[in-house]
Each structure stands twice: as structure tokens, then as C-alpha cells.
């Protein structure tokens, strides 16, 4: 029997549906629906338990080639040239922190941005679009699930980096790091909204995802400082939240910079959160409207 939860009055199915729609008016994002979708995504992820083990080890396999390259080119774990460029002569902690932070960017692009395409492959995109919640809730739910799985991976990456390379970081840096990381993740969730919209329009996610990934990866100071980029490219790097997050996190972890010194980075990230979310929502809605108008929602 269907009942309206708040009143416990038995209703017919039709009445119940109507009441449900009345108590669930359309909003920009339905956080309750997003949480349900996140739980569902995590449940699906847990169906493949080997994934967690693999994702825990994967980032270290991406980091190691850069560490070995650094050792081969500089003859040790420090480089005076690198120190002059970045401010940190020992490139291993520099690289490790860069890769930890970039894991979240990766997850926003590959995980959240491609969510709708995965649904399409699994044949559930159209049913998902029929749920009585704003579509952006689906993407926010995917972002929440990705946050959990990515955090598990990055904790393993960070732990392995500390163990393998005997890295030492200031404990006082934990709070500023978490704040900068949180702001960057929120900003990139807005970016993922826009990116999902583009995948709805262009369909083939592999090409677009790889292109966006390599461009952001090149512009973000994961392995080198922004100053190494050509001068005409540097402004592009400065519109990415990952640039400010990585720079700030390195300052906090490696140079023990307090929150007072990182205030500028925090303010810029806040501004980028607003810009990325507004742009992301607008682009997604435009792409969704365009795709539905063309009747190509389920097209491959």
C-alpha cells in the first residue's frame, strides 16, 4: 500500500504519485536524490572488489616513471635546476603531492564527466533521466561516489609514497590541505557538469576525455612549475582550480605555510567554484536541451 510519509494516510497509486511529485518540486539539484545515486554507484563499484585494490596501486604506477626519469636526468633525488624553477630541490615529494591532488581532477574528468556515457553503455541512461529529480543530481551523486573511491586511492598513494620514499610532511598542514582540496573538488564538480554536457552532444567520450585530460594535465603544475610553460600558455594555467590547489598544498605540506599565507589561494578557489558551477550548470542544460531537441539522447 502507498502512503504519504508525512501523514501516514493510505493513497491510491495515482494519488501517491501525484503527491510525491508535489512534495518533490523541481530544483537545480536534489541532494537527497544525489545521495541515493551516490550510494547506488558505490554499491555497483563494490560489485567489482578488485577495482579497489587496483585503483589503490594504479597512481603509484603512474608516479614512478616520473620519479625514475628524474633520477636518470639529475643523477639523484635532487636537482639544483629543479629547485631554481620550483623552489623545491627534492623532486620526489613535489611529484607525489602533485599526483595525489591530480587524482581528484582525473576522477572529475573520467568518473563524473563520463557518468552519462557509462549509463548509456549499461542501457539505463533514459530510465535515469526519467527519475523525478533534476538531472544534475545524477552527476552530483556520481561526484560524491567518486570522491569516496578516489579518496581511498589517494590515501593508499600517499601512504605508499611516504613508505617508499620516506617522505615527511608537516602535520599542521592537514587542515589547510583539506580546505584547498575540498574547494578544488567542488570547483571541478562544476567543470564535470559542463563536460558531461559535451559528452551528451559529442557522444564518443574517449577522444574528448583524453583531450581534456591531457590539456589540464599539461597546464597543471603536477610535475613542474607554471614558469616552465611558454609565457603565452601560463594565463591558461591560472584559470584552473588545480593550479592554485597544488601550489597551495605544496606550500602547506613542504614549506609549512599556515592558512594566513594561503588565504589568497583560498579566495581565488572560492571565486573559481562560483564561476565553474555557473558555467557548468549552464553548459549542461544547453547540451541537454540540444540533445533532446535532436532526439539523440540514446544514440551512440
Amino acid at each position: 500500500m502507498v502512503t504519504l510519509q508525512s501523514t501516514n494516510i493510505p493513497l491510491s497509486v495515482a494519488d501517491g504519485e501525484a503527491a510525491l511529485l508535489k512534495v518533490a518540486p523541481a530544483r537545480v539539484i536534489d541532494f537527497s536524490a544525489a545521495l541515493t545515486i551516490a550510494r547506488n554507484s558505490l554499491r555497483v563499484s563494490l560489485r567489482y572488489p578488485a577495482n579497489f585494490i587496483i585503483w589503490g596501486v594504479m597512481p603509484i604506477l603512474w608516479l614512478l616513471p616520473f620519479v625514475f626519469t628524474g633520477i636518470a636526468f639529475s643523477g639523484g633525488i635532487t636537482s639544483a635546476q629543479f629547485g631554481g624553477q620550483t623552489g623545491y630541490a627534492n623532486f620526489i615529494p613535489y611529484l607525489a603531492l602533485g599526483w595525489v591532488v591530480f587524482s581528484y581532477v582525473d576522477s572529475a574528468i573520467w568518473g563524473v564527466g563520463n557518468t552519462l556515457r557509462w549509463y548509456q553503455f549499461a542501457g539505463v541512461l533514459e530510465p535515469m533521466f526519467l527519475i523525478p529529480a533534476p538531472r544534475l543530481s545524477i552527476l552530483l551523486g556520481a561526484a560524491m561516489a567518486e570522491l569516496v573511491t578516489t579518496s581511498m586511492s589517494t590515501i593508499i598513494l600517499f601512504g605508499l609514497s611516504v613508505l617508499i620514499f620516506n617522505l615527511q610532511f608537516a602535520l599542521t598542514a592537514v587542515l589547510p590541505i583539506l580546505l584547498l582540496l575540498f574547494l578544488m573538488i567542488v570547483a571541478f564538480t562544476g567543470f564535470a557538469f559542463a563536460f558531461s554536457g559535451l559528452i551528451l552532444v559529442f557522444k564518443d567520450p574517449s577522444v574528448l576525455t583524453q583531450f581534456v585530460h591531457v590539456v589540464i594535465y599539461t597546464l597543471t603544475p603536477v610535475n613542474y612549475s607554471v614558469s616552465v610553460l611558454p609565457s603565452w600558455v601560463q594565463p591558461l594555467s591560472l584559470i584552473l582550480p588545480s593550479t592554485f590547489a597544488i601550489i597551495g598544498i605544496r606550500e602547506a605540506a613542504l614549506a609549512a605555510a599556515g592558512i594566513a599565507l594561503l588565504w589568497g589561494d583560498v579566495m581565488i578557489l572560492l571565486l573559481l567554484v562560483v564561476i565553474f558551477w555557473i558555467t557548468g550548470i549552464l553548459v549542461f542544460r544547453l547540451a541537454e536541451w540540444h540533445t533532446r531537441k535532436k532526439g539523440k539522447m540514446g544514440a551512440f
Binding site: 596501486v57 614512478l64 636518470a72
Partner: protein, 290 residues
């Protein structure tokens, strides 16, 4: 139009390596058509090989401030890290393209709902993978030519062109051995379903053991020993030495000999494993399961 029973049976009785080769070629063409039907694919195909090289070059420049490294010169036969890394990167691009493209061929067909139809076509299962391999070799090979061309034009990459033919032999032998690895990946995909993560882990491990921009001596000793059993390591070393030192480098020819032995072992292993997995999946009727 009706097809007579005789025609159908004559169609099914077609067999032999020429028929399989023709089917594989058509599958490769089909894959090109699929890729080119997405408007961004063509653009990305042209720029991507170069795009992925840039972060590595910037990292090298941040470390050395120039295109040479005396530390690398002490460890290898060249101090020109730029040429050393660019050649390694080109070689690894072919590995990437071959492993990802062919290893995931079955999973992609499953995603778009054509795996069972493909399995019902009157060609060998290995032919389906071989068709995908042909496409990926073409795709990867063209990418490498674009990479080398762009690096030569923009950065003045210096190559010993006399060593080009033996270098291509190294690439060919490496690709042959890689087909064994690809067969193994296809098994993982068939049995483990959401296997792209497993493929990602294996590809990343192979790439770590195939020293794109560093010599093997910088790896821990245990990894150096494992790398000796990986065909891609010997392929890359001979490829790079032929193009940097010319065709008469003795150590490059030793690597070619080792590569030949490893090719036979890896191909046999992959083929046996694929036959076993194929039978296992069909016996369990789990071909189309997600």
C-alpha cells in the same frame, strides 16, 4: 532476395588463412569507420601523439634546463635526453595503442551490443582480435610517424636514419610478441567483465618496465630482473639504439635475439589461455553478462 541453402553452406564452408586474413582486414576497416564517424576523433588523432609528449618534455626541461643531461650520459649511450625520451615515447605510444585497442576490443563490442553478433560470424575468434590489432597497428604507426615528424620539425630531433630498417624490425617483432599479451588481455575481459581496470594496471606495469625515458639501471634490482622477461623492454632498447647508434650496435642485435625467443613464449602462452577462456565463457553462457 532469397539465399539458397547451397549458397549458405558454401559461405559457411569458406575457410583458410586467406579468408581469415580478409575478414581481419575488413574488421580493421570497420574500426576506422567507427572512429572517423565521431567528428572529434580525427582532430584528436592528429594532435594527441604530440600532446602527450609535451608534459614529459617540460618535466625534463624543468630538471635540466636544457636538452642534455650529463647524468643520463653516464648511464646510457647518449646525454641527449630529449631524443632519448622522444623515441621512448613514440615506442610506448604503439604499445598503448595496441594493448588498449585490442585488449578492450571485446568489451567495446559488448558495450554497443554487438559482441554476440560478432561471435556468430563465421570467422575464428582470434581473427576478430587480429582485425582489431591490424587497425591499432595502423592507428599507432601513423601516430608515431606524426610524433617523429613533429618532433623533428619543431625541435630538430636528430636520428640515425641508416638504422631505420632494423628499428622497424624491432617494432614489428615487439608487436608480434604483444599479440600474446593482447590475447591474455582479451581473456581478462571475457572472464572478468569490468576488466578495463585490470588492463589499465597491466598496461601501466608493462610501461613501467619498458623504460621510456630512463635506463633500466635506475630501477630497483628486482624490477630490472622482471623487465628482462618483458618483450617491450627488448623492443624499445633495440629500437632506440638502432635510431641513435645506427644498425651495427651489437647490444641492439642481442636484444632482437632475446625478443624473438620471448615472442614465441608469449604468443604460445596467450593463445592457449585464450582458447581455455573462450571455452570457459561459452560453457557458462556468460558471454553477454556485464
Amino acid at each position: 532476395m532469397s539465399v539458397s541453402f547451397e549458397n549458405q553452406s558454401s559461405l559457411l564452408s569458406r575457410s583458410g588463412w586467406r579468408y581469415e586474413l580478409s575478414a581481419a582486414w575488413r574488421l580493421a576497416i570497420k574500426q576506422w569507420k567507427v572512429e572517423l564517424s565521431y567528428p572529434l576523433s580525427l582532430l584528436y588523432f592528429i594532435v594527441s601523439p604530440f600532446l602527450w609528449l609535451i608534459p614529459l618534455l617540460l618535466f625534463g626541461y624543468a630538471l635540466t634546463g636544457s636538452t642534455t643531461s650529463s647524468a643520463l650520459g653516464q648511464l646510457t649511450y647518449t646525454s641527449d635526453w630529449f631524443t632519448y625520451s622522444a623515441l621512448g615515447f613514440c615506442f610506448v605510444s604503439i604499445i598503448d595503442s595496441s594493448l588498449w585497442g585490442t585488449g578492450m576490443a571485446f568489451r567495446r563490442e559488448q558495450w554497443v551490443g554487438t559482441l554476440e553478433s560478432l561471435y556468430a560470424t563465421p570467422v575464428g575468434r582470434v581473427t576478430i582480435l587480429f582485425g582489431s590489432s591490424i587497425h591499432n597497428i595502423q592507428h599507432g604507426g601513423l601516430g608515431v610517424l606524426l610524433q617523429l615528424g613533429a618532433a623533428s620539425l619543431l625541435f630538430g630531433l636528430q636520428l640515425n636514419l641508416v638504422g631505420l630498417l632494423p628499428a622497424l624490425l624491432a617494432v614489428g617483432l615487439m608487436l608480434l610478441g604483444l599479440q600474446g599479451v593482447v590475447l591474455f588481455f582479451a581473456c581478462v575481459v571475457l572472464v572478468a567483465r569490468r576488466a578495463w581496470m585490470a588492463v589499465e594496471a597491466l598496461v601501466s606495469t608493462i610501461k613501467l618496465l619498458t623504460p621510456m625515458s630512463y635506463p633500466l639501471v635506475v630501477l630497483p634490482y628486482s624490477l630490472q630482473v622482471i623487465a628482462q622477461g618483458v618483450p617491450t623492454y627488448h623492443g624499445l632498447e633495440s629500437f632506440r639504439q638502432f635510431l641513435l647508434l645506427g644498425p651495427f650496435s651489437p647490444s641492439a642485435w642481442i636484444s632482437i635475439g632475446l625478443l624473438l625467443i620471448l615472442d614465441v613464449i608469449v604468443l604460445l602462452f596467450g593463445w592457449v589461455l585464450f582458447r581455455v577462456s573462450d571455452t570457459y565463457v561459452r560453457n557458462r553462457a556468460s558471454l553477454a553478462k556485464f
